[in-house]
Symmetry: D3
């Protein structure tokens, strides 16, 4: 699925900072020593394994910030499925700049494509069910905005982007408030009409209490498929249902079959392996 | 292995930025609505799986920047081996601040401990051999400094920190230069006495050429154990030997047995899964 | 109404930048020339007119960043109603630092208290009605987070904080989509279950179409009280209703009487006059 | 009056930061969902009320930073008087970017045009008198540079830009020094030949003392027109005279008639309402 | 001469950035490897040559930002004259932090003390004359604020801090305007009453023209002592006189003897050698 | 010697910040008042003294960031030797922008060319000897990266860029460790195979001990030519030899004649005078 691209103004600070952490205080001393300044080359980003692409704009910007004479022409778009060996993009221009920016571009592309690919694999596993695959706030420090973008590229959706854009009452909040009802009452009293309120429940009794208090959404935490199905029946459309906790590729379909609206998976953003992509010179 | 901690001035910008990406424009609206301002609590970071800790200073700073009244007392140090269920640190103070900073602190601690644990597992797998485990420049954007720190916490060493602190001549550089010898000659001519020069070789013929040109180190790329052993014999102590490419936990010992000085693994930093750590409230 | 304070990590960059734009390249040359370095004084922030306070944390931080020896003890809290002549806070410590930070502190306090006071006046005008007073994205550049905080201090609520935290379909979006229904269909297809969708409607026919498409909220733009009342009847609880456009203090009660859930006023943040507060030295 | 434009390097950080506070972590989700990526439109900034324009460069930059393909062609320049309904600028290009940047551009344009318009109204009210209209350091946090620019666009002048570019001895400084003369002596002893020294006086006796000490300028604080006229006579050209305190549109001419050189008005920058400007799509 | 210290908020960004450029991505690997974490030491900054101190606050902050447990107690203040061998400050605390911050602290202290010392030598050379020694905008990139501070510490004064805080009409401006009179007319028409206008003149004829146009100050460029004296006579107190161009320690007295008010020397800030200061461990 | 240019992404933050410290809050008020907006001019950077150029990219960027319509065409490249009167670059375009950016561009060009020229003079003085001229960490705060670049432009080499890219054991480290051998043992135990270890020695006995411990490089501190020659004999190629301390232009050849590999000179970066370059308008 092809997500709307993030405006350059949103990604430029991140790409600049990442280039600088690689360039350090002297720049690319290897390339400067060996590669003639006027040599131009044609190269290609080639997939070393199948998956879903994400992050082409960040890769393109990495090259452009090192040398605006470098052109990255994409063969694939973010969200596209790729096979092993596929050309993802062609990068042409001054050899020095291409070699200098290569690692930064690939670090973005590999990391975000890894997340998109993991997301897509779960989406595929639950095809036919209504559930949406969503990510969490368990993201890599500094990368939340682009990691959530990668989840969208993989066909998933985004849950909260931060602490400020929805109320999510967790078990510790419930404990402090003294119960589901009181927690919901406090939340309702302090938040405006447009803010959705979701609450974590661990038992069906808690779920019933949350429904009585008209929670907008319920996070069904660490429930097995049977209990999830029972919970969905209990909810009966009165709230959005979200399954959370311990959802892997292997059991995703079973969870989806329980009829939940959302399935949230922290590992999509915190533990997905990179997608292996390499830069090949074209003869 | 307990690494020297990074000075606060080095990690503070990263921790501040990460808190801000979670706080957004309104802060923690859930906690503010539900948790009394004067409530203090005692909590603990507990390991949900065995591994090696890294990132306690970043976690401590996350809490301190939200509320200086929060105290994090560590039960373990970075580099310590932990078992499932171990208490890693105790965090006490205002409940609001602890809940608000929890996710940021855990995102750092889980990510860096995941890298330290992966490193430690490889280090353990090659115990008895002389080889050092090193990471690469395949790091997560924005996190190079702290990810390399986590590798040290896991008992590994660091290769180049960036493009500027050593010469590493890769296959594309060799191709552009027209050969191993010319690439080394160019590098030698342009870099000072104190800069080490390493070159990637794919064959024993290339290796011989590199040794003739007195490379300081040779990166033996994608060679099997037998070929590695042959390469080490050929080098005969005249250069530092580094094995690279396709080294996993399963084949690490075989690579080390070949006698190389260094084994570099990109996945330590780009694909290690987080170490699962949770925050528990203490009754 | 006393809002939860924003964590220091959220406001510190703004306060630092504002101090620096006043200090320039040489600092406070008047105070440095005239005031002895060891003189300490007692001062008070006094209200020159009645209103509602907001921004004390920013004022306190302005003094602390200039000289940590300065203490600001608040007599009032953000959200408190104050009368002309009331002491808002007492600031004691080195005279130099107090004089140097005075203007920055007052610029924050006056601006945010002005917004809180304007909000409170509208909230008072509609007392007894269910409508919430909300602000918009028409905020002063760079100050969105703290201006929205000031609205909460005045008893109001916050609408969207930015382009990213809810869908608000405006007239131009509708025109481009070719109609209310198509705009809502596109929005629904591209956004997750947890995102609320609000749409601007200018006529009752548009409103009916929006309700058919199950919009979560409807923005009733520039409608008079009678038309608003008719719209509220038509909605009949099926969506959140928001009145917008041309709402001033004088007509606020009439709008609220129409039964809407929300009343949004851009001028609370873009055109409220500062609340006049002064710094007095205490003999 | 058309002021010299501020170089882009001065305004770019502010415009970038303001776009980012609106884009948040996901960008413009409404526009991305509804508006086709390849749709281009023609739009116009139209004045909803008469006034004076300021801020076109910031508006232009807001669009350009979102999408360089957007062109803003100005029909008016900063400093131009506009009537209700006038076209101020035409903005053409990709519809998505125009809608995404619209609010940021208008927030700048409305805020700065509001200041320019307020300034122009005072300037017009004192036409024929020699007095210059000047603003103060009572500016909105973070916007001093551009707000002072807007005052110039409205035909006013700028007083101090900060604490560092002139000496202005206020009543509290005088009290600490123990009197007008001692305050001026200290200031003279510590500042170079090129720095002007201005001092606030509340009585004619203080004024006489300030003149004896050869103050470069005197700030006549909160004096009525008669007392101001008396003060101007007393000064007799020996110092620049500035009236300050309580100057509104209604009494501006009376103050100017007293013969002062400068009239400073804090409300031009801290309390001017925005100028109402809207974005219209052109059929 | 002891200048007022710059508030920490002004110098902290510079000190942080300078520490980071030295710490790089791994910190002080030498000290971390060799020095025990719990070792504390007593050290002293000792003068290796005579001069005038400046920059102690920046040095103190460098240590504090690395480790708040380090205490720097100054034996001398900024502006104090020191002899070879004098103790300038005592630094005590954790050895690691002291060694890590040493170079950054010394780079600030040496650079700024070098400027203060150069300034003081010129000030001493013209003792008895009324002329003030002033610096120019020929400062080291990024250090203008602190270099101008160092000039004050050495007993000098500051000319313009930037392009924005006074009008200085140079020869190229005059050429473009078509002459001294027209340049002054344009400047007067565009700047407010409080802005001083200075103009560069190369001949006595130009000087006469500038005086006719009531320039506030005249920059007498590259004139010898006799011509300067003639120029001062011609001015006769009607404007501030500034000698500029080619003023070195050797000819400073001759220039001052001509009776000018100001002598500006670019080399104080752009070419002064560092003052040699070292860190000694105390047994 | 022409060094590889630093990528724009590395120098842009520095050039932007330096422009802003000159522009302040109002920009170039002199030029704006006097120079017509549409005037274009042709100018040239002319050498006022012989030397070696460095910093052209920074100067070019200063102009481009003020006005992209300005073109700087270089007549010389960084590293080129220039004679008095030589044209270094031609700058053409809008007069306003050229005058506004002139000082910033010249401050960079003069400072860096001064360093390059000083370096080149030492390099010339030791022509025929094998020694390389290297700089130290005694750089101007904030300018390390570009100052080290200027040393390369002058034909020198760079020693450590920071605390993190090599081990350099100084006398205080040795004292803390309790001796040369123990210091080297600790360093070896904590650093990876690829990090070079250099140690400062003050006597031949220390040198012998360092060689026994297989130091990679020895810093021969403050030794006279005879002692240096003796040290070089003792080393006999087993380590890189570096002379340090008290090396000036006058004694450089004597030091080089002793046969050392490296000569490090702090003053190249901390005390070199600017190279005098001026901007001339072309009729």
């Amino acid at each position: 699925m092809r997500p709307s691209s993030l405006p350059r103004v949103m990604i430029e600070p991140l790409v600049r900072a990442t280039l600088l952490e690689d360039l350090g205080r002297a720049g690319d001393i290897t390339t400067d020593a060996i590669v003639p300044a006027d040599l131009t080359v044609k190269t290609v980003f080639a997939a070393r394994q199948p998956g879903v692409v994400a992050g082409l704009d960040l890769a393109r910007l990495a090259f452009a910030l090192i040398d605006p004479a470098i052109r990255l022409e994409s063969e694939k778009d973010d969200g596209d499925v790729i096979a092993k060996g596929d050309a993802i993009a062609r990068i042409e221009g001054p050899a020095r700049g291409i070699l200098t920016a290569e690692r930064t571009a690939l670090n973005f592309l590999g990391h975000l494509s890894g997340i998109a690919s993991a997301t897509a694999s779960v989406v595929a596993a639950i095809a036919g069910y209504k559930a949406q695959v969503v990510c969490t706030r368990k993201t890599t420090p500094g990368l939340r905005s682009v990691e959530k973008y990668a989840v969208r590229a993989g066909g998933g959706s985004n849950h909260r982007f931060g602490l400020d854009d929805a109320v999510l009452i967790k078990d510790n909040h419930v404990a402090i408030a003294g119960g589901i009802s009181e927690a919901l009452r406090r939340a309702r009293a302090r938040t405006g009409h447009l803010v959705r309120i979701e609450i974590e429940v661990d038992t069906l009794a808690q779920l019933a209490e949350a429904l009585d208090q008209k929670a907008d959404a319920v996070l069904l935490d660490n429930m097995g498929p049977d209990m999830l199905a029972e919970a969905v029946r209990l909810v009966a459309g009165r709230a959005i249902t979200e399954a959370s906790g311990g959802i892997a590729l292997a059991n995703a379909a079973a969870v989806a079959a329980a009829g939940v609206d959302l399935m949230s998976l922290g590992w999509l953003t915190h533990s997905a392996a990179v997608l292996d992509i390499g830069l090949d010179f074209i003869e």
